[in-house]
Symmetry: C2
Subunit: 107 residues, 2 copies
DNA sequence: GAAAAAATCCACTTTTTTAGTGTATTTTCA
DNA sequence: TGAAAATACACTAAAAAAGTGGATTTTTTC
């Protein structure tokens, strides 16, 4: 099979694992970083994106790098976009500018 | 002076340089990737963020990695958030969970 | 095995951000 | 000097994220 869709790690997965490892409840943690626990739960279960401010609050609370977490979120968003048929169709319809450097006989 | 604000490279700067280097007009390029040229101009002049779909179209047209461009945008967004006083105040108010590993006498 | 706490799920409104359009002004350069 | 390109910005529409509320399910613990 060609072109199988795959989805990279959502930051929620990492955060969830860390909370479990450290025995911190979702409610306690949500209170600590100042967001509603339902929002946190949605992030942990990958139904909401992690955004920069929340990543910063998590960094303060747990010491996990906000850059790392947002890197995961960026990769996740990128991959989800690549799985979007409409956008990929439009992407493929873009005509590349040709590099004017390679002589035809070299091909 | 402590804590001077700085702003990292916006992807628009990179794209703009590339268009100049290759002698491609903004209008032509906007048409090529299928977005209004005013939108493109706003991105090039750092008044709008680059988003994933547009980064993909640019990758198709110029061969510049969408991942690279979005990495720049992510760094830019992160830094801008770090320059936001309200969010940083809130971040600093988050109480860290203490690591329970280091004995007091070791400090 | 019942009660309590924690977690899950999801619908909904508000707020913020981005997409897209229109147009006026300024700059560049042939 | 005038035509094309670039810039600036206001505006509406669409999309995404924040935040709220409540109902159900799962897990823990007594």
């Amino acid at each position: 099979m060609t072109s199988k869709k795959f989805t990279p790690t959502h930051p929620g997965e990492v955060i969830k694992d860390e909370l479990i490892a450290r025995g911190i409840s979702q409610k306690d943690f949500a209170g600590r970083i100042g967001i509603p626990y339902t929002m946190l739960n949605d992030i942990l279960n990958e139904r909401r994106p992690l955004t920069v401010p929340t990543a910063l609050y998590i960094e303060s609370a747990l010491g996990i790098s906000a850059d790392l977490l947002m890197g995961l979120q960026s990769d996740y968003t990128m991959q989800r976009t690549r799985n979007d048929k409409e956008i990929m169709r439009r992407m493929r319809s873009v005509q590349p500018y040709l590099s004017p450097v390679t002589p035809a006989r070299a091909l």
